[in-house]
Symmetry: D2
Subunit: 343 residues, 4 copies
């Protein structure tokens, strides 16, 4: 069986494993105050071109989302997000467990618009009973979205303006950020993202690391005392250097982008094969997740040799997900392409 | 101006004021452990025909909802409710502030169905990633709903069965419960409600009391240690007798129902007037809230002499709310009826 | 039996009952936005001499404490307080339930000192692992304390200075504030308290009202959006005028102080009787709570005719509490005095 | 410089690094549902001799503590623990952030007794105002304690009995559990601990792993739905196999115990050297942490060549901590011993 069901089935890029081994018996201070973390921070700051950004390394995505969101909001504030957003759907109510309501907007292909955010926020204050309702406090988006789609520079700029005019913190979940940056249709750089968002995280777990996310905070008022929050939420790794070392490796000589390109270009091959065959793609995803809509027969044929993921139904057809990653092998994709051609 | 904008603009039924005055200098134990509370509890238990029900008196509706819901759920559980439910719309995220997600269902005229609840609950467990999602723990409904509509005995029975089969606690918000019980179309008694729900509250604030709600818990597993929860949430009134005395008065000689009938019958007169005139009613409400859909001109004409409440827009017309209560005077309703006839 | 066990066994001063009755059928807006609330706010602002103070009316003490404290602190901050403080001992963990640790200091006669606060705060930042510990965010004191003792103007001034130098919010729980203001040894006015604290509440429940506390916020940064917090915590009374009307009555013509003096002067008589008799007083309380240390025999003798409250043991003797209030009758105290003389 | 300041300054035992490398490109399911986790679970169940124990792998100690404690308690319940307990002192209020008060007991050498627990619990219910106070829900202890001391089998048995009689969950924080099991004075096996506690965790971060703690739950009522809690708290590692693989390695052929013995025996050498020299040890610790009380001169002399940790002052002398670990080298300890001899 060749597996395409997710982008976190394997370990890490070999460079990381080698460096873990090489540095294993070194003695360093704990809790992210070591030289590897500091070096990784510097490399990220330099790449995003924000010398005074705060960079924190956390272990996973849910943890990063809940720790940052809880640190920003006052108790009566909520998070504006897509109804399809990961924090709304797949994090077991972790944000509500920190006391905050999600103010969901109907998403289009996983995305929300500046207009929707403005309308929700302004509608809140226009209602005379506003104090009886959760106050909008921030906006959460993902890049790429759950549907593999992308915010364009124009869209993100519009969101950013709407948020800044209204004092809403704009936060981007970048669990798969590398795969968005590497894909052809993308027109945003890390530096653009850092400039337009108030905070975002650069995903490692799904993009070449064993685990780890690099949270970047650029908005001054969100920086204060964040390490207290990390410790309180169990998000401060004792041997923090394990995170620093991984991000230092990924941000040396463009490795993060190189491994992302592997996923992006192989996903394109897969998309091409389905398109060629006239098989509908459920979302117009330019990134490492592809969502073909299969007949029962096509589904069964592919399921003989490939592992993929059930997404939903469309009438009597099956929407499934094929995922590439930094570790996906060309030969496996070629075999998939042949199988699609033969459907 | 004659005011119909809400059902909590005035004090309490005169019997309550008189008794407050008469008992003012008596000395009683605090925190709901006095004889008035005990007497009120007995009268309610007797009326609902559940001798071992737990009855607690709290000050307001939001407080009652949050204290009970937080006492029932485990941290990863959420509340199934209508998207129009009061806890979702108008309590400033108080349930989320206790850590729990609301699992909203699209309501029809403010109501949710047994089928919807079953589908949401069963769909949860059918999803292989269920542990990544909030687990359904209870169902919240209101009687009457925010739209003034009612659950029938058949509908409540169906909800009750679905909940009991699945271990979901069924809780009814009865802020205006008296007005539902008193209206013609209602086919549920307090005793039915006590039998079909696991807990519910009998609203006092909007139905004849100065303030106060009587929470009735019939499900054994929900009873334990509830007074700790009340104290922790600031919901245990020091001079608890003020609540006991009010409910004792309301549940003596059927006063609660008598004052509710005033609101119900006057609301019918109002509905009749609008119907007679051919003016659409936005919700088919048989209770004390009526929602006519007015033209701009009609709106302005009525607004000269009457205070009512804006609800929403329907095209270029205005949905408004007229509310009656225990205190509404016949002559005021008659003047409104004449004004509607003259539109 | 003559009862001295607490100061919340009776209703309210007759003036309040009369006004409740007189205004019962008036129609007013809800949620504290009525004229009675506004008038009461103005009277309090005028008395404390802070024209721009925010004044909110809440129902009870635990509710007021938790709502204000939760509104001030960031998630990783805690409250410095006496280990004997009411929030630490008798509010069922309500502050922790909002997410915040209490940083307790050993109290002397219920009080903490500016030096203790400074040492705790400065010690926190001096510890290199400070991010692994709860950050001090505010200071909670009570006036009078749980032991009936008082902060002097010098002590409160010192606390205030220490707090302001360190950015700690100073909050005073005034459940029995009237009884402190009315006692001979007190050297603080309401205006002093308003100037030295960042927020405090003027207790009504124990000082002449049926229920209710008036929270006064003078620190600018603590004012924002407090009504959202009230609603979220179930602390916004629908018929808010009931609170406004009570405080308006209490703050008309010095009624609050007059009724407090009754409690204070009668408590002095009680203290005098015990002192005369050579019976030790456990705390040197100048306010409405007196704590004699009785032998078993004395205890039994007094318990025949009087209800009082067990406090603790001192060796083989019994520390008990006698409480006076706005409603205590001279003749009852005289009978107690005679009984003490006869011990 | 030779470093003895903590037991988490280095990576992992070489066996773990090798296996991480060897399995790096394997594809496995996520979230702890892989074969490595299952194998590790089986080995732990077998060693503790509880075939139906639930075993979960989490990343760090604070995370494990807060996730388990929050899963066990009802909202008004608190945790009984030593005032020196790690959750009270060094986890930034993480338990309070989940809503729960810590009910601290004065510790003796880091330990609390069965008698103290019984007295606190029974005193709670004996107080007529018990509903106004946090209800004891569980007991938290550490083995070894923060002071390096140990609970004996007799002490743990007594605690266990007191807890079971009272329905309190007994939970042991085993961040350094290996080092307790390996030391000479210990009379508890892992199997004893599993039998006497309701839950405990086997620390990996400080005992040979890169990171990771193995939480073992034996009490039936604590097992339900724990994976929801893990996901909600951000404690479910995407590539869960990284944890399974580490514990599988540590629990193969007694590796966990072998590496622990290194720390224990070297710590004894260090203790011996200080005792020989007549230097007081602040705690009578038989485990990997040693706390000599040094004069200023001794401190300065040792500080030239060794890194150790400041603990507290004892009069004008300095209490410091020397820590050994799985990775401590004999030659480094021998150099320390010589330096102590030469003081």
């Amino acid at each position: 069986m060749i597996r395409f069901e997710s982008d976190y089935t394997q370990g890490a890029v070999p460079e990381i494993i080698e460096r873990l081994a090489a540095t294993n018996m070194e003695m360093t201070p704990g809790y992210g105050e070591d030289e590897y973390c500091e070096s990784a921070r510097e490399k990220i700051r330099s790449e995003i071109n924000v010398p005074d950004a705060d960079v924190h390394f956390l272990v996973g995505g849910t943890q990063t989302n809940l720790t940052f969101i809880a640190s920003v909001l006052r108790p009566y504030q909520g998070v504006i997000c897509a109804d399809t957003g990961h924090i709304n759907i797949h994090e077991t109510g972790s944000i509500e467990a920190c006391g905050h309501k999600l103010l969901t907007l109907p998403a289009t292909d996983g995305k929300i618009t500046a207009e929707q955010v403005a309308a929700l926020n302004d509608g809140h204050y226009a209602d005379p009973t506003f104090e009886h309702m959760t106050q909008p406090g921030m906006v959460y988006i993902s890049q790429p979205t759950e549907c593999g789609t992308l915010y364009s520079k124009a869209e993100l700029t519009a969101l950013s303006e709407v948020c800044r005019e209204r004092g809403l913190t704009l936060y981007m979940d970048g669990a798969r950020l590398g795969y968005s940056l590497a894909c052809k249709r993308n027109d945003l750089t890390l530096s653009d993202i850092a400039r337009l968002c108030d905070a975002f995280y650069i995903g490692g777990t799904k993009v070449g690391a064993l685990f780890g996310e690099a949270l970047v905070i650029t908005k001054e008022s969100c920086k204060k005392d964040f390490r207290y929050m990390m410790k309180q939420k169990g998000a401060m790794l004792a041997k923090g250097r394990l995170l620093g070392l991984q991000f230092d490796t990924l941000f040396t000589d463009g490795l993060y982008h190189r491994v992302s390109e592997n996923a992006a270009s192989l996903a394109e091959k897969i998309r091409g094969a389905f398109e060629e065959k006239g098989i509908e793609l459920f979302f117009d995803s330019p990134t490492n997740q592809q969502f073909p809509v299969l007949t029962k027969e096509q589904y069964n044929t592919l399921a003989k040799d490939f592992v993929f993921c059930d997404w939903c139904r469309k009438g009597d057809r099956y929407v499934v997900r094929f995922c590439t990653s930094w570790a996906t092998r060309v030969e496996d994709v070629e075999e998939l392409v042949r199988a699609v051609e033969a459907l």
